[in-house]
């Protein structure tokens, strides 16, 4: 019966097992007491690691109230400030049109685009809907630039940082992501770009649809298929394609960080970004260790604790200096 209790709590019990447990609980006061005790411990022990930020929650609520009651005036204001950009956390999910790739290369003369509009995310992530219906999630410290006449003749944006795109389909106007010298062309598709100018290596991961990647100095464009990741070095002009589980790459837009047999060294890099902290660890030491776990709203301390359980590492936190060492 104890195993069944655990399965009921885990949400994996069968209907028959639930029914059996119900009968067992109703059998005696003692049984009921036992179940309730275990249940109480199950819930309480989970709650102990949860910290709810009530201040922040209150802010969210007042924002929501404000939005609802000033909806009209906000719309008018944003129209004045900027005709087509609506930054909103409440954009309904867009319908993704999956479309086959159509090769489209910009003529050289079009390269001079005047990116006069800027959206920059600070430590908080941001969601932006462009005039054409494309939705862009900006990760922390990411800048999105676009010309004032976006969607007039062309759809072109520039990214420094990490962004996840759900591009609204438009057969007439290709959507082009300017990565500095390199470019991504799409028609309608979902993909994640990690193009930080301070990173020597950058990546593009395709979730749905099809995109082509044009690297300056590389003759042929690279066409990505879903679940493919292109890893490219700007300096060396090399590109590697790799099969990945692409759904892992936009988890940050969902406020979740998922590692699936990820190199520990890479995990540490991701955690540095996620928590915006610096982690010291021996170079090259953790390339061989692979770990799987998920971070939702855990503090860095909680995450490090879990890591030290699943991987042979020790950690120490002194002020804002975090050290990770092999066990």
């Amino acid at each position: 019966m104890e195993d069944i209790i655990i399965r009921v709590l885990d949400g994996t019990a069968t209907e028959q097992e639930k029914f059996d447990l119900k009968n067992w609980i109703e059998e005696s006061e003692e049984n009921k007491k036992y179940y309730l005790d275990i249940y109480q411990l199950w819930i309480s022990s989970r709650l102990s690691s949860q910290k709810i930020d009530v201040e922040k929650a209150f802010l969210t609520l007042t924002n929501r109230i404000e939005n609802k009651y000033n909806e009209t005036s906000i719309k008018n204001r944003s129209r004045l400030r900027n005709k087509w950009l609506i930054i909103s956390g409440a954009i309904a999910a867009s319908i993704l049109l999956i479309f086959s790739f159509r090769f489209f290369l910009l003529p050289d003369s079009d390269k001079e685009v005047n990116y006069s509009q800027i959206v920059a995310a600070n430590e908080n992530k941001q969601k932006v809907e462009l005039e054409d219906g494309t939705i862009v999630w900006l990760n922390s410290y990411t800048t999105l630039l676009y010309p004032a006449d976006f969607n007039k003749k062309t759809r072109q944006v520039k990214i420094d940082g990490e962004a996840y795109f759900e591009v609204a389909h438009n057969n007439e106007k290709s959507f082009v992501v300017d990565l500095g010298e390199d470019k991504i062309t799409v028609l309608g598709t979902a993909f994640n770009v990690n193009n930080r100018s301070d990173n020597p290596e950058n990546e593009v991961v395709l979730l749905k649809g099809s995109i082509s990647l044009h690297l300056q100095g590389v003759k042929d464009d690279i066409v990505l298929q879903p679940n493919e990741k292109a890893f490219y070095s700007k300096a060396k002009k090399t590109i590697n394609l790799e099969s990945v589980d692409a759904n892992l790459y936009n988890v940050w837009t969902k406020n979740k960080l998922v590692f699936d047999k990820e190199k520990l060294s890479h995990v540490i890099e991701m955690l540095e970004k996620w928590y915006d902290i610096e982690i010291n660890c021996p170079e090259g030491e953790f390339d061989q260790i692979k770990v799987s776990f998920t971070v939702v709203d855990e503090t860095i301390e909680q995450t490090l604790k879990v890591m030290s359980l699943v991987a042979p590492i020790n950690y120490s936190i002194k002020g804002d200096i975090i050290n990770i060492t092999p066990k």
């Binding site: 195993d3 249940y39 102990s48 929501r64």
Partner: protein, 189 residues
């Protein structure tokens, strides 16, 4: 906008700060996903705010808040897992929900949590690891099994062991007496 000079607004804010967290924990009994719990409690307060002109300040809001949170949580479950209402009402799941929420919603005292944390550190190594992965990291049994390369059965066994050790320990410390009294009260009711 909530202005400070409005008495009802102040009252609303006080209610929020007093009950938001415990309502989230309460919702967790129905839906073990904190993001959803917070969304639901946000909705409860949003609706409350929309109806604040009708609020009777002399009336205790506590039971109203818990009741509407419970309704919203059940509606969520009904629409997301059951398709329609009748199926949940007659299901064995409903039995467990009502059993769980018979307990006092304010039992998650800091002392109890501290006490649990302390026993957990004394658990045997594998037992401790599995318990932390489940309760602190929030992994499902299957995920823990994959992570540690052991069977789901073994995970279940270790979790049962951990919970049973903690329970015994807490009994020795005199905890659960309160729970016991409440259980008695419910049974005699």
């Amino acid at each position: 906008m909530i202005s400070a000079d409005n008495r009802k607004d102040e009252y609303f804010k006080d209610l929020f700060f007093e009950y938001y967290e415990s309502l989230c924990f309460y919702t967790y009994k129905y839906i073990p996903d904190f993001d959803i719990c917070e969304d639901i409690v946000q909705d409860v307060f949003f609706n409350l705010w929309e109806n604040k002109d009708k609020l009777d300040l002399s009336y205790s809001m506590k039971s109203l808040l818990y009741k509407s949170t419970q309704n919203k949580a059940l509606n969520y479950i009904k629409s997301h897992e059951y398709g329609h209402k009748e199926r949940l009402d007659n299901s064995v799941d409903m039995y467990f929900y009502s059993l769980a929420t018979q307990q006092d919603e304010e039992l998650h005292t800091e002392n109890l949590i501290k006490e649990i944390d302390e026993v957990v550190t004394q658990l045997p190594k594998q037992c401790n690891k599995i318990f932390l992965l489940s309760r602190e990291a929030g992994l499902k049994n299957k995920e823990i099994a994959e992570q540690l390369n052991i069977s789901v059965k073994a995970v279940e066994k270790q979790l049962t062991k951990a919970l049973s050790i903690i329970r015994t320990h807490l009994y020795e410390k005199g905890y659960f007496l309160l729970l016991f009294l409440i259980a008695l009260y419910i049974l005699n009711d």
